[in-house]
């Protein structure tokens, strides 16, 4: 079951090239595609990698039968609950007793959901030290107020403080920056606790005095016996410098690490250079172990690896374009006219070797499959000199498949670039090794 705004390769796998009508009948997977809404048709937040929650408004309503995600989810949930009420079940409590206090239960507003995620007091909650009480039903001002006795409820402690009794912090648009340091404390809201720079205690010396007198972020205030600053201090606010609590509060040692503790990473405590599993050269640092022995591999027929000796001696990388967004904008005419068809970037020198001109079709083959598209001959990719050998690199943008404007018009070879790349992943983050692998190239 998928919720999408366009047909996509995942939900239309059964239409992939090479699947015959007879084979389609053998597929016993039912696919439901629910008509979701696009990003501009929804309100809610964009959360960026600086941890800012920034509210946005819907630009226009979803077209036709399309529905907001929350409406689709709510209608399914209410229907399931109805079934539990009628028919019962093994453990109905989680469904029947779930809080669902939205103004429109069939289409909860995201503002209500955001307030719910922030959390509120289910009973009066008192902080003895601060001599403050949050009354039952009030929004919680920060995660320090969360209790484990059932007197508070929150969707995510990190977001606690984003929508308080003072209002929607995530909807703020304050552009003032009195310190001139780019803090912008009143623009949206940054998790956790509206803290803009993590570990900002490290901007001070051991005595709590900023290293740079011209750019003070936080400092120890002797008068207040607390940490103060232009940003929210990322530290135990009343821990004086003489107690030597380390600035890296999420590390047990309280300080930065030169190496990772045992078992933190699958492939050892120190950084190490490995060649990709498919590489035109043997790792000169340790030829006996050229690539990462801990990399995760799969063992299907699609997971073969190729070698230079077998003729796979051109390095291939996959990439994305500014003109397209993954496998989505190939359905949007505005994006399609900017970059209308799949292509393969190849160095001018390699094109000369192949007797090839730009715009002519080439076939790229790896141990796992092939890809066909027009060549973009360029001087931007230069041949590399590796260990005295001239080595070519080519690049393939990933944005095409077998559904889309160009695909449906018959202007592509209906191939996916990631058929070529190996499903080998980093052992810690599981990032796939799609940026460097080996191929052969020939004129079609």
């Amino acid at each position: 079951m998928v919720c999408e705004i366009y047909p996509d390769e995942t939900s239309e796998f059964w239409r992939s090239p090479g699947v015959s009508a007879g084979e389609m009948k053998q597929i016993r997977t039912a696919v439901y595609r629910l008509p979701g809404a696009g990003f501009a048709e929804k309100d809610g937040t964009f959360v960026n990698s600086a941890r800012w929650l920034q509210w946005k408004n819907a630009a226009l309503p979803p077209p036709g039968m399309a529905r907001l995600d929350q409406e689709i989810l709510a209608r399914i949930f209410l229907k399931v609950r109805e079934l539990y009420q009628k028919e019962g079940g093994k453990f109905p409590d989680a469904i029947l007793d779930a809080t669902w206090n939205y103004t429109d239960p069939h289409n909860p507003s995201l503002a209500e959901v955001a307030k719910e995620i922030n959390g509120r007091a289910l009973a009066d909650v008192t902080d003895e030290k601060l001599k403050q009480t949050i009354l039952r039903g009030q929004q919680l001002p920060g995660f320090a107020w969360l209790r484990d006795d059932g007197s508070t409820a929150a969707g995510n402690w990190l977001y606690c403080g984003s929508w308080t009794e003072a209002g929607a912090m995530m909807q703020r648009r304050g552009t003032e920056d009195p310190s001139g340091q780019g803090i912008y404390a009143n623009w949206g809201w940054s998790w956790p606790a509206n803290r803009r720079v993590l570990y900002n205690r490290a901007s001070c010396d051991a005595a709590g005095v900023p290293w740079d007198a011209d750019r003070k972020q936080v400092w120890w205030s002797e008068a207040q016996q607390r940490w103060a600053g232009v940003d929210v201090p990322d530290f135990k606010a009343d821990s004086p410098p003489k107690d030597h609590m380390g600035p890296f509060i999420m590390n047990g040692e309280g300080v930065g690490r030169l190496f990772a503790p045992a078992a933190a990473f699958a492939d050892g405590p120190f950084p190490e250079h490995y060649e990709p599993t498919e590489s035109p050269l043997v790792n000169p640092l340790h030829p006996g172990q050229s690539s990462n022995p801990m990399a995760r591999r799969f063992n299907s027929s699609m997971d073969k690896l190729g070698t230079s000796a077998e003729g796979y001696n051109i390095v291939c990388t996959t990439f994305r374009l500014t003109e397209h967004y993954h496998y989505w904008t190939k359905h949007n005419p505005m994006n399609v006219q900017l970059a209308p068809e799949p292509f393969i970037e190849i160095p001018a020198e390699l094109a000369d070797d192949l007797g090839l001109r730009g715009g002519e079709k080439i076939k790229v083959t790896s141990a796992r499959g092939e890809y066909i598209a027009k060549a973009m001959v360029t001087r931007r990719i230069k041949p590399m000199q590796i260990d005295g050998k001239k080595t070519y690199q080519i690049g393939i943008p990933i944005h095409w498949g077998y559904r889309g404007i160009a695909e449906d018009a018959g202007r592509t070879a209906l191939k996916l670039a990631n058929i070529l790349s190996p499903a080998v992943t980093d052992p810690n983050a599981y990032t796939p090794e799609f940026k460097g692998f080996l191929v052969k190239v020939e004129k079609v």
Binding site: M334, V336, Q337, P340, G359, M376, V377, R379
Partner: protein
């Protein structure tokens, strides 16, 4: 900016003075394009299409990231992509946003014979008025930047309007709003010129671009769209940006000396005919003639 910025300064093919000319001095508007921070994402191209309600145009892959070879009657904003190898062997991938330059001395307007088809507002924007366009395409001859484009179906000329509708309401042009890197700026001509010169100086002093400079060609009286270029001595590397653009000599001759010569010849002819009539009287047709 206000609606007042759309006071007209010059009119094509118009006899006599421009109504209301010289009543009030207007600030010149200007678009600054810093080619050194453009990433060629083409967001400006889409913003231009969306804002001006221009239709989808089918394109084909042509061994380049450039959307199409040149701007079109319904595609006014185009990033020109050029791979450039300098004499010293160094390589650059140059991207330049191509659109109407809104010249202070617009060749299109000078060449246009249709009264009111091309106007120049007092804020510097040069705008085509399709209602008055006669489709003669003389503006193409007058433009040193290859900008006016003909719609063969409607027989009218089109080009970038610098979003007069937005600018007159105090908004920046759509392309400026869409730019994600901030390589596009919009404001008064003097402010933009100062910003551009500052950026060029920064490039000369702190980067390897020792010949960085500002493109604001005097041959057309300066432009309402100015560029910061990595190398001001070689604008042609950016997809045919002319070194010293001018209104073509033919247009200048035709609209200048030749026009006056023609007027003199016409008036002279009339005077000659009148004198001939006064001196010799009407031509008497011989009654016996065939």
């Amino acid at each position: 900016m206000s609606a007042g910025n759309l006071r007209i300064q010059a009119i094509s093919g118009h006899a006599g003075p421009v109504p209301g000319a010289g009543t009030q001095r207007q600030d010149q508007v200007c678009k600054l394009i810093d080619t050194t921070t453009c990433i060629g994402c083409k967001a400006c191209e889409v913003a231009c299409l969306e804002w001006n309600d221009l239709p989808f145009r089918e394109t084909v892959f042509d061994n380049t990231y450039q959307t199409m070879p040149e701007t079109a009657w319904n595609y006014w904003n185009l990033i020109q992509f050029n791979e450039h190898t300098a004499a010293d062997g160094s390589f650059q991938w140059l991207m330049r946003k191509d659109q109407c330059m809104h010249c202070a001395d617009p060749g299109c307007l000078a060449a246009c014979p249709a009264d009111n088809a091309i106007v120049q507002y007092q804020n510097g924007i040069v705008d085509f008025q399709q209602d008055y366009c006669i489709g003669c395409q003389y503006c193409v001859t007058g433009c040193p930047f290859n900008i006016p484009k003909f719609n063969s179906h409607t027989k009218k000329m089109f080009k970038c309007t610098l979003c007069t509708d937005r600018v007159s309401q105090g908004l920046e042009p759509a392309c400026i709003k869409a730019c994600p890197t901030g390589c596009l700026h919009f404001g008064g001509k003097e402010d933009m010129k100062a910003l551009a010169e500052m950026r060029a100086l920064q490039l000369r002093e702190h980067t390897a671009h020792a010949r960085a400079g500002v493109y604001d060609p005097p041959g057309v009286g300066g432009t309402g769209v100015i560029y910061v270029l990595h190398d001001i001595t070689n604008p042609e590397a950016y997809g045919g940006l002319p070194v010293n653009p001018r209104v073509p000599l033919s247009v200048w001759l035709w609209k200048g000396p030749l026009k006056w010569l023609g007027n003199i010849a016409m008036v002279g002819g009339l005077i000659g005919v009148s004198l001939h009539y006064l001196r010799f009287g009407p031509k008497k047709v011989d009654g016996h003639g065939r």
